[in-house]
């Protein structure tokens, strides 16, 4: 009984050298949680224990954008919510279209930064939101493949891609005045506050 251990003088060398797999899964998972998603995915291939650790929900939750519940609620596929967090992450790394296919959302797999790509068809422009003034021309550049010109005002090129965390960039050529509601919606989606937007927008 109690006789088991204490007096054992013996072999301190070679005795009890822990290997990584002797370490409890919670520890492995915590180690993984400090890494970025592609690293975690890579390490899942080490062995079974790592694979199990890499599937723990608590690792993935902090990698999501802060407003991810809102984002999930927007996406058409509501089955997502019940999936494992790691699978949700994988899903969000692919472009997910919503709002009748006029917008796409995805996250950067390494940083978790959010991206929103908006078709010109989803844009609303202050003052000239009359579709008769819009002309859609395909270009090589983006998946949306639209160059929009609002003929009346001579806007030659509208293209918006917005991302958060890494950078926020808006490419609105020629001072296009997109309606505030529209921008507000986009930025709520990205979890960016509107005051940031205004400054960027006006610059």
């Amino acid at each position: 009984m109690g006789a088991n251990a204490s007096a054992m003088p013996g072999e301190p060398n070679g005795l009890m050298r822990p290997k990584l797999e002797d370490i409890p899964e919670s520890c492995m998972a915590l180690v993984l949680s400090y890494l970025d998603p592609p690293e975690i995915a890579k390490l899942a291939r080490i062995n079974r224990a790592f694979r199990a650790a890499a599937s723990a929900d608590f690792i993935w939750v902090p990698k999501f954008p802060s407003n991810y519940n809102f984002i999930l609620s927007k996406l058409p596929d509501q089955g997502l919510i019940t999936m494992d967090k790691k699978d949700i992450y994988a899903r969000l790394c692919r472009p997910n279209s919503f709002d009748g296919g006029t917008k796409e959302f995805w996250i950067d797999k390494t940083t978790g930064g959010t991206y929103l790509s908006i078709s010109s068809k989803a844009m609303a422009i202050t003052g000239i939101d009359d579709r008769r003034y819009w002309n859609h021309i395909q270009t090589y550049e983006s998946r949306w493949v639209f160059e929009t010109s609002a003929r009346l005002f001579g806007f030659s090129h509208v293209y918006a891609q917005i991302c958060q965390k890494m950078n926020i960039f808006l490419l609105f050529k020629e001072n296009l005045h997109l309606s505030e509601d529209f921008l507000h919606n986009c930025f709520t989606f990205l979890g960016v506050q509107i005051f940031k937007l205004r400054r960027l927008y006006l610059d």
Binding site: M8, M16, K19, I23, V31, K42, R45, I46, A90, K109
Partner: protein, 163 residues
């Protein structure tokens, strides 16, 4: 023998490592080991506490860590200076061989020292980062125990990360 109650006055506790070495630690240090704090509270800490999972080499390091943290926190210095100091100490402290680091990690887990556990895990993470799978297996002496089918499945499961 066992009623060496003089020790109680100084509030010193004895910790015995796996290989039989006894360490004397003050209460402020001992209570940082959550496991031991519970034993102390339950009045089960006499005459000494046997730690069957920790060698003397590692226990010495653990005690050094807890001592430094206990002293810095109670030293009356301002929080920011103490923070800085601890950060420097932690960095230095983590400058050890990988095997030691692993042992520290499992000891911190066993002894339930949250800050040390997180510190070692974070350090392990930074060591693993940017290494190939084969390197990591070698580094930690673990084997690939996947069957061919499982290996395929994992690759598929995480394929999104490599596109």
């Amino acid at each position: 023998m066992s009623s060496s109650t003089e020790l109680t006055e100084k509030k010193v506790f004895l910790l015995k490592s796996l290989d039989g070495v006894i360490f004397e630690v003050e209460e402020s240090v001992a209570v940082q080991l959550e496991v031991i704090r519970e034993l102390i509270e339950g009045d089960c800490a006499r005459p000494f506490i046997s730690l069957y999972n920790v060698t003397s080499e590692i226990l010495a390091l653990v005690i050094e860590y807890c001592k430094h943290h206990a002293e810095t926190c109670s030293g009356g210095t301002s929080a920011t200076i103490a923070d800085e100091d601890l950060k420097t100490f932690d960095n230095e402290f983590m400058n050890v061989d990988e095997n030691i680091l692993l042992e520290l990690c499992s000891a911190a887990d066993y002894l339930d020292i949250k800050s040390l556990f997180e510190l070692t895990c974070r350090t392990l993470a930074s060591l693993i980062k940017d290494r190939t799978i084969i390197e990591v297996r070698k580094m930690f002496n673990v084997e690939n125990d996947f069957s061919v089918v499982e290996e395929k499945a994992v690759r598929k499961e995480f394929a999104w990360a490599f596109k």
